[in-house]
């Protein structure tokens, strides 16, 4: 028995001749925050909407809590909170009216639950939705997804339109949801928006999953830049053959290089000498992602 909350195998979706998904294999484990990453048009929204049974796949299969979205129907959707990539609702009502309606569709919520979530995101419930700013509308979307504390949260580009402060609040909410045993699947086209709270990320390109990694693992085989200042000049040969070291250059007593993977051997080699300072520049994960996005050679390991 798997403990995967979401599983897709060879999931494909064509709109006529236009590709939505080519063949997607995805596994989201129970109790994790899964970052679903990819450039615009890669198929993230298509995959998500299959999980909610809003669209039906052309081929392959999808399962949520072990059921196909189609067969699971309304009772399966009861266990899912969903934020659409484009959260659009009738603008003529207030947020409170909408949320109370949506709560009734789910068979009701405890008193005060709506207010509790709205307060957290500083959303004024009694303003007409039509007059809300984009950011405030996104907050409303987050409230309706989170308020019934579903077992699975499916969030399509949840941080769109949120200011940096609210992005932090959201990431905290996602982490808290995980701590409470909920599973979170959130899509984004930028890693930095999800890396802080995601346990694993899946990268989709042209409708196919090209990589699945823990955020830690990504960081480990990303490229870092290293600069070491020694008290006295050192021999290049001592460092040039070390694993993971490339583009080595020595000028006087300063060594610069690129480092892939673990820093252990380089640091131990350097420690044989007297050091003035050492700088390791954090890996630029975005750079790594651009490589995945553009379909270039991906870093070794995994």
């Amino acid at each position: 028995m798997s403990t995967n909350v979401v599983e897709t195998h060879g999931l494909a979706k064509y709109y006529g001749r236009r590709r939505g998904l080519e063949s997607l294999d995805m596994e989201v484990r129970a109790g994790e925050v899964y970052g679903f990453l990819g450039p615009n048009g890669a198929g993230k929204t298509t995959a998500i909407r299959v999980l909610l049974d809003l669209i039906r796949p052309t081929a392959g299969r999808a399962q949520v809590f072990g059921q196909s979205p189609r067969a699971g129907g309304a009772s399966l959707r009861r266990r899912i909170g969903y934020l659409a990539g484009d959260f659009i609702v009738d603008g003529g009502q207030t947020s409170r009216q909408l949320l109370e309606h949506l709560a009734r569709l789910r068979g009701g919520l405890p008193n005060g639950r709506i207010e509790q979530h709205a307060d957290r995101l500083e959303l004024d419930l009694d303003v007409r939705i039509g007059s809300l700013s984009r950011g405030n509308r996104q907050k409303l979307g987050l409230v309706q997804a989170f308020m019934h504390q579903p077992e699975l949260l499916v969030l399509d580009e949840p941080t769109t339109g949120l200011d940096p402060l609210l992005q932090q609040t959201f990431l905290l909410m996602a982490s808290e949801a995980r701590d409470a045993g909920q599973t979170v699947l959130m899509s984004s086209h930028v890693l930095s928006e999800v890396q802080q709270s995601a346990d694993r990320v899946g990268i989709v390109r042209d409708g196919v999953m090209v990589a699945v990694e823990s955020v830690e693992g990504l960081r480990n085989h990303a490229v870092r830049r290293v600069e070491i200042r020694f008290d006295e000049p050192v021999a290049e040969a001592e460092f040039s053959a070390l694993p993971g070291v490339s583009e080595l250059s020595l000028s006087g007593s300063t060594l610069r290089c690129r480092l892939t993977g673990r820093a252990d051997t380089l640091i131990k080699a350097a420690a044989r000498h007297a050091l003035e300072s050492m700088t390791i520049i954090e890996p630029d994960l975005e750079e790594l992602f651009m490589a995945y996005y553009q379909g270039e050679e991906t870093p070794q390991g995994g």
Binding site: T45, R49, L52, L54, I55, R56, G73, A74, S75, R77, R78, I80, Y82, A84, D86, F87, I88, V89, D90, G92, Q93, H101, L102, R104, L105, R106, G107, G141, Q144
Partner: protein
């Protein structure tokens, strides 16, 4: 718990109010002309024209209250207004909301699509009924003043029930086309084309030999063929319109369950 139903009615409350006032006003305005139209001079004048022309225009006679109302308030403009109101409600129920991108959020909730559609269809029929009831009450209220006393409240009620059923039929046609295609324009177009064709099938069909059969397929035939203003409620005609409405709603639900929801 019919949350979708009650929410739909609440959201449409202004439109329902406006249409109800509108159809009642149109009905009343026509009715007030009856005393001035009901003159021997006009009856003489109308004799100069071939009867077929009046039939084609949906006009029977102006000399009796029932004939006059059946040619005016309940003859042309009334049915057209209910047809258009029904089409507006029916095309918005699924296709309109879908084109606006509003269905995604709602249908991701734990409600079956067919049930969602049926509840919205029920709201549409209630909205039409409110308009029909308002029209009926307005006609009863001015009945004496406009010298419509010979018709009687029961027959006015019957005619209003028939006009609601006609609106419900075209509304469910719009609903079905919209639910199957997701296009509001197609839904409205189906009602416009269907309305015009079946209207003339009812009025012209009988006078053209090879088209005579077509009247049996016209909802207008079942709306006014039994002359509810003279003969009261026509149960079998109402059953045809009501049955066709239910079939269209069922087809709409089936089509809607099967397809993708657009964003």
């Amino acid at each position: 718990m019919a949350n979708v139903f009650s929410k739909a009615l609440w959201d449409q409350r202004r439109g329902i109010f406006g249409w109800s006032v509108g159809v009642a006003a149109v009905g009343v305005m026509y009715a007030f002309f009856y005393p001035t139209m009901n003159t021997p001079a006009l009856a003489d004048f109308m004799r100069y024209f071939p009867q077929e022309l009046f039939t084609a225009m949906g006009i029977s006679d102006f000399t009796t209250a029932a004939g006059y109302l059946g040619s005016t308030s309940y003859g042309i403009l009334g049915p057209i207004l209910f047809m258009v109101f029904g089409a507006a409600l029916g095309s918005r129920a699924i296709a309109g909301d879908e084109e606006a991108g509003r269905l995604d959020v709602l249908l991701a909730h734990p409600i079956d699509r067919a049930r969602f559609l049926v509840e919205r269809a029920a709201a549409m029929i209630v909205a039409l009924s409110v308009a029909g009831l308002t029209m009926f009450l307005a006609m009863v209220a001015i009945s004496d003043l406009a010298q419509l006393g010979t018709i009687g409240a029961a027959n006015l009620a019957a005619a209003s029930a028939h006009i609601v059923l006609l609106g419900a039929f075209f509304g469910s046609l719009a609903l079905a086309v919209g639910a199957a295609t997701g296009r509001r324009a197609w839904a409205a177009g189906a009602v416009a084309a269907g309305g015009v064709l079946t209207y003339f099938a009812n009025t012209l069909g009988p006078s053209i030999e090879w088209l005579a059969w077509s009247r049996d397929f016209s909802p207008f035939h079942y709306y006014s063929g039994g002359q509810p203003l003279r003969n009261g409620f026509q149960a079998s005609d109402a059953l045809v319109l009501g049955g066709a409405t239910l079939i269209l709603v069922a087809l709409a639900a089936l089509a809607f369950r099967r397809r993708d929801v657009a964003i």
